[in-house]
């Protein structure tokens, strides 16, 4: 446990002294901030027109028009940015040769992999936590927001983000080239994202269902609509464990040079 904390601390120090964390966090907040601004603007326009008719006005609320679309868009931004955040994780250690130090210090392989992963999880939390401000802003303006639904959506973002990271760490363990790591993790995640699409049109039913169940997107949608299902949570947990297990196997093999 103490080793894990030491490893996490070192990685965090490196992420924050090399600018990469700042840049990714800044871009994330800038893009998400712009989405928030746009959706609020759309909401203002719609409510202005629909407000005249009490029947229509019943059907619009801030949760559905601003926050839900925002959360859906956050997932896309994460899909683009997380591979960039995670690409250096293990690839950089291989490139610099410092992984040889790690392997000869009294550390277990599992500690190395978990340390690398959890450091990224911390950066990710620091990255998306400021978005709570948007919810606070809406609240401040007197919006009626079901806080439980928002919390569930946040849980969804969290699970989705750390799943992306787990896959990113795996991609990063495969190569010493950061660009390759980023491309592999982006391509892989995109596939996992879209794999459900074909599922709806397949004649073979079991395959269709499997594809839909494997998709990262379908499980995320439930969280955003405010539904919490152990199935979805289990899916992400298994996805993470599977990716980290693969990473551990790659690391164990010491298969480079």
């Amino acid at each position: 446990m103490r080793n894990l904390l030491t490893l996490i601390k070192r990685d965090l120090r490196s992420y924050f002294s090399s600018m990469i964390a700042y840049v990714v966090i800044m871009m994330f907040l800038a893009v998400v901030g712009y989405f928030f601004f746009s959706f609020t603007l759309i909401y203002a326009r719609i409510s202005f027109h629909m407000g005249a008719d009490p029947n229509l006005a019943k059907n619009i609320n801030q949760m559905d028009t601003i926050l839900r679309p925002l959360f859906m868009n956050i997932s896309i931004v994460l899909l683009l940015l997380i591979p960039i955040l995670s690409m250096r994780s293990i690839a950089e250690e291989k490139k610099q040769g410092t992984i040889e130090l790690l392997f000869t210090y009294p550390l277990k392989n599992s500690e190395i992999v978990l340390g690398k992963y959890l450091a990224l999880v911390v950066v990710f939390i620091i990255m998306f936590l400021p978005t709570v401000v948007y919810v606070g802003l809406l609240k401040l303006c007197g919006a009626e927001i079901p806080l439980l639904s928002v919390a569930i959506a946040y849980l969804g973002v969290f699970l989705l983000g750390i799943s992306f990271l787990a896959f990113g760490v795996f991609a990063s363990s495969l190569t010493e080239n950061q660009t390759i790591a980023a491309v592999v993790s982006f391509g892989g995640l995109l596939l996992f994202w879209l794999v459900g699409w074909a599922g709806d049109f397949l004649d073979v039913q079991w395959l269709g269902i499997t594809l839909r169940e494997v998709s990262l997107l379908s499980h995320y949608q439930n969280f955003v609509t405010g539904v919490i299902d152990t199935n979805d949570i289990l899916y992400y947990v298994l996805f993470i464990i599977f990716c980290l297990y693969l990473t551990q196997r790659v690391v164990e093999k010491r298969s480079w040079r």
Binding site: R2, N3, T6, L7, K9, R10, R13, S14, S17, S18, Q96, G97, T98, I99, E100, L101, F103, T104, Y105, P106, L107, K108, R254
Partner: protein, 316 residues
Amino acid sequence: MIQVNNVLKRYKHVEALKGISFEVKKGEILGFLGPNGAGKTTLMRILTGFFPPTSGEVLINGKDIEKETLAIQRSIGYLPENVPLYYEMRVQHFLQYVAAIKGVSRKDRPKEIERVVRECGLFDVERRQIKTLSKGYKQRVGLAQALIGNPDVIILDEPTTGLDPKQIIEIRSLIKNMAGNKTVILSTHILPEVSVICDRVIIINEGNIVAIDTPHNLEKRLKQGQDIVVLVKGDQHKVEDELFKIEGVTGIVVKECNEGVYEYVVSSKEGIDVRGTLAKNVAQKYELLELRMSRLSLEDIFVKLVTKENEIQEIK
């Protein structure tokens, strides 16, 4: 202290180590010598628990490296080739991190870091980012991280490569100072280094041990016959005749040095010292400028051993 039994390492297509065995005593400085690609780094990586051997066993303090990797790694300090370091970190942060990883208690850490900083002469650069340091300082930081936690065994992969002569001397004296308390294993392809630092040498070539001995004995053992180098001013042929008259002389190789001055490398039968007669006879008629024993340098021995090995393989 360290026992290596029949260690073999096979990569996909090549056998990097072909079953080697040796022992290292406590407090000894042992040198691995061999051309690039001989298997030095592979051997060191096995000793440090980086990866296991394909077969064979390594015992350090009686513990098997494969079964008790973590326990053994706690008693080993390792400086890999090319000195990998976290360049974006400051020296002090890096050393704190290493101390924590190696299990130095929070209480003892400042003292331990102060010790290695003093030993490696890092006072002036403690606060600097590692990437801004000169090659020599980087090497010292690498050495410092190996020394943290006061391990019994220090393993250094080519610790002086790429340094300037002054830095090389500094690093060497640092290593020499460790002798006695710590068991040091270092690899190099710079030959004089071995005779300067090491108590014993293991020469490795193509995954096999070619020779294990003290640098001194290696030189002695490989000196074939006794060659004497004589520098004489005077007619080449007459001097040659004169030299051949001496009892025990078996061969002469001549090389012109200056005008009228020739260098004769005189070989003689084993057990007969021809120096006395040679000096007397030559000095009577000619100007004898120099007379010395030719010593094989480690370099010659190395070349001899390695080429011999190659020849054997060709015959096979």
